[in-house]
């Protein structure tokens, strides 16, 4: 008898609990789309830590409602990102989605967003320029800056301070590295520098030794925009091949996801200048507080990567806007999107606001890789470039004339 009651009770709660959650008005579902598989797994995991840091700050609630995070996984390919977004929106029924992580994914999810005007999409860390610059979607918001913005100040610094006149580039063959190379070259070429050779390698390439051998020997430095495992492979093989030219790093090449790798690649990384939305040795109290909060997440790096930062900023913006509208998305998210586009708030890395294309205007950090006191490699803050906009300070019509980024644009051999 006793057992039977228990069984009935269990059955009852088991049957009613999900329907209660569906019916209840006291939870809000937020989709979290990141790369939990494939070559960018490490990056996706850190992105999740960043997003969860923002959720933890409000104790998992917003406007009195409980936040329910539904995870979607992609493998950095655009079709996998759309598949995951589709699953979150159409199957799990999320009305607010944070993600994706990688450049091409962002372009694909933006196009998908156009077909779902009632769902609000907030970027993860995808940083291709045209996700917001050309042909944007009304319901796609990016509170993290793009790959060209991340390079602000680096080209001028390499030319003037480091004295590099000729630089070769090695980067992955997709939209985000195109954007990064564009951002670097826009300044570097303007300062008078030359880029005689650009190598585009397929994403997930393992053996870089032939690419390394094809780099001209008379360049002053090599600009490397590779991420995750690709960066580790390139740097290791560059060290093995006895490479002597100094490096200039793309934002994710000298990120914590690469700097924490074990092996001899550490030697070639020291002193590498780079730029990006974060700097590990930032002294600002807001950043230090963020680092402490981030470190409470399981498996955290010594310092948050830019993926943790990007997902944090975008999740934070989402929660702030949701709070403003009282967690109400029953009107197809119209109020929420209005709140998002007007939102301006202080992040761990300074003030962030949106432009008319819903792309962030934020501070960018010029950095250099150094060894910390505990032996970890860190990005030392060199200079802050305040409030960089998407057209890098160039008037918009002039900027649009530079053309869309691709393999051959820009060019200054």
């Amino acid at each position: 008898m006793h057992r039977r009651t228990l069984l009935a009770l269990a059955l009852f709660t088991g049957l009613t609990a999900p329907s209660m959650a569906l019916a209840a008005d006291d939870t809000i579902k937020i989709g979290l789309l990141a790369t939990f598989e494939g070559p960018f797994t490490v990056l996706g995991e850190d992105g999740e830590r960043g997003a969860m840091t923002a959720v933890a700050e409000t104790n998992g609630t917003v406007a009195g409602k409980k936040i329910e995070i539904v995870k979607g996984s992609s493998d950095a390919s655009p079709d996998s990102a759309v598949r995951a977004a589709r699953k979150l929106v159409e199957q799990d029924g999320v009305k607010v989605l944070v993600g994706p992580l990688s450049g091409d994914e962002g372009l694909a999810v933006k196009d998908y967003a156009k077909t779902k005007p009632d769902v609000t999409f907030i970027n993860g860390t995808s940083a291709a320029q045209d996700t917001t610059l050309r042909n944007p979607a009304e319901n796609f918001f990016r509170f993290s800056t793009d790959g060209a913005q991340w390079m602000a100040g680096l080209g001028t610094y390499a030319f003037n301070e480091k004295g590099y006149k000729k630089v070769a580039t090695v980067a992955e063959d997709y939209s985000f590295p195109y954007t990064q190379v564009f951002g670097f070259m826009a300044e570097f070429c303007k300062a008078g520098g030359h880029v005689p050779s650009k190598s585009w390698v397929p994403i997930g390439n393992k053996d870089f030794s032939s690419v390394i051998a094809a780099i001209p020997e008379d360049v002053d430095a090599i600009y490397v925009a590779l991420g995750g495992a690709d960066a580790v492979n390139f740097l290791t093989q560059y060290q093995q091949a006895g490479g002597s030219a100094p490096l200039i790093g793309g934002s994710i090449t000298v990120d914590q996801t690469v700097l924490t790798s074990k092996g001899k690649l550490r030697d070639v990384l020291k002193g590498t200048p780079s730029a990006g939305p974060t700097a590990d040795t930032n002294d600002a109290p807001a950043w230090k507080a963020f680092v402490d909060a981030y470190k409470k997440q399981p498996g955290a790096f010594p310092s948050p990567s830019l993926f943790a930062h990007g997902y944090y900023v975008n999740m934070k913006a989402t929660l702030l806007a949701l709070d403003q509208v009282g967690g109400d998305v029953s009107d197809g998210g119209k109020k929420l999107r209005e709140a998002l586009s007007k939102l301006s708030f202080d992040t761990p890395t300074g003030k962030v606001s949106l432009d008319k294309n819903r792309n962030a205007v934020a501070d960018i950090f010029l950095t250099e890789v150094t060894e910390g006191s505990d032996g970890n490699l860190l990005n030392k803050l060199v200079k802050v470039v305040p409030q960089v906009n998407q057209t890098l300070g160039i008037p918009e019509d002039e900027f649009m004339k530079l053309g869309a980024v691709n393999r051959d644009n820009p060019s200054c051999p």
Binding site: F36, E37, G38, P39, T41, V42, G44, E45, D173, S199, W200, V201, P202, G204, N205, K206, D207, S209, S210, V211, I212, A213, A214, P216, E217, G228, A229, V232, N233, T236, Q237, Q240, A241, G242, S261, K262, G263, K264, L265, G299, R407
Partner: protein, 349 residues
């Protein structure tokens, strides 16, 4: 004019030159061209076409070492697939697991050679276990073998992701394998007359050497020893071999152990040259499939030829047309399948 024409036309039409001699001549010419490309100092126009001599010769050398790595993986695959008719689509997982085990052992003990040995031995044991518990039950049932091994590879990939996470690991090579060799190949001459010699990582040369030694060893084992004779006999007629008093299952377990062990060995060696990360299993499975299809099932020589073609194609593609480089590999496969479906060294069955 007519006198000059005379000898060549008569010798061809008169059958004075056999087909074999023509091929020999072509081979000699090709060897001469390659030798010239490698050892001569390049004129400017050639540098303009092929980027630089350093880039070209490095691409060839890298193609050779990558071929060595592919051969190590594919030779195990060809032994199991070709000789025993066992379709093991979990072969890539053996590679990756071997690499992870090699990493753990090397980083804990500090001895790289111990890591290599561990990769081989542990995978050999797992190979025997797979042969006894999976393949022996599904003997002769190709479709079920395929599906079961695909299942094993998916489960193994997720288990490895759970244990080692998504990070990129680099197996540390010992000091004595570090550094670069200076090869007697002049890549350029400086304006002051000094020659610039090509340097090449020592470790990669060792990988290539290991692949050659293992390849020759396998060929000798299969063709010159008693065990090799038993393996070949068992493939052709299992019942007859069994009737003549040989334990067929034991022979096949040995082959499976060697094949799986080689995959683990290649994992450690490859993980030291490149890196270890999730997704490598599928990459190497695909590479060894292509190598075995091009080279011919069950032939060690075929695996070597296939690995050479694919390795060179991949590296040359990467340097000269990176965006479309992948296509080259599959063009080779498609052409082989169209012209010689059984593979270059394969026997029509």
């Amino acid at each position: 004019m007519s006198i000059l024409d005379q000898p060549s036309s008569s010798s061809l039409s008169g059958g004075g030159v056999t087909r074999r001699q023509v091929w020999g001549l072509v081979g000699l010419l090709a060897a001469a061209i390659v030798a010239w490309l490698v050892f001569a100092i390049w004129p400017a126009w050639l540098n303009a076409i092929l980027i630089s001599k350093k880039a070209f010769v490095s691409a060839i050398l890298n193609g050779l070492t990558l071929a060595g790595l592919y051969f190590l993986v594919a030779s195990g695959f060809t032994l199991i697939f070709g000789l025993m008719r066992n379709i093991n689509l979990a072969h890539g997982s053996l590679y990756l697991l071997g690499a992870y085990i090699g990493y753990e052992v090397t980083s804990r003990t500090g001895y790289w050679l111990l890591g290599v040995a561990a990769g081989f031995v542990v995978m050999a044991i797992i190979g025997v276990v797979m042969q006894v518990f999976v393949f022996r039950r599904l003997e002769g049932d190709d479709l079920r073998q395929t599906l079961v091994t695909i299942g094993i590879s998916i489960v193994a990939a997720d288990l490895m992701l759970a244990v080692w996470a998504g990070g990129t690991y680099q197996i540390a090579t010992p000091e004595w394998l570090d550094g670069a060799l200076t090869l007697p190949v002049i890549t350029a001459v400086r304006s002051n007359g000094a020659s610039v010699f090509l340097t090449y990582p020592l470790y990669r040369v060792v990988v290539l050497a290991a692949a050659i030694v293992i390849g020759v060893g396998l060929w000798l084992m299969l063709n010159k020893t008693r065990v090799g004779m038993m393996i070949r006999a068992g493939v052709d007629d299992r019942a007859m071999l069994s009737a003549s008093g040989v334990n067929v299952h034991a022979v096949f377990a040995i082959v499976f152990a060697v094949g799986a062990g080689l995959a683990g060995f290649a994992g450690v060696v490859g993980g030291s040259a490149l890196s270890v990360a999730p997704g490598e299993d599928v990459r190497y499975l695909l590479a060894s499939l292509v190598v075995v299809i091009v080279g011919g099932m069950g032939s060690i020589t075929g695996a070597a030829i296939g690995a050479l073609l694919i390795g060179l194609a991949e590296q040359i593609g990467l340097v000269y047309f990176p965006t479309y480089g992948v296509v080259l590999t599959f063009v080779i496969m498609v052409v082989t399948l169209a012209v010689r479906p059984q593979g270059i060294m394969g026997k029509a069955r």
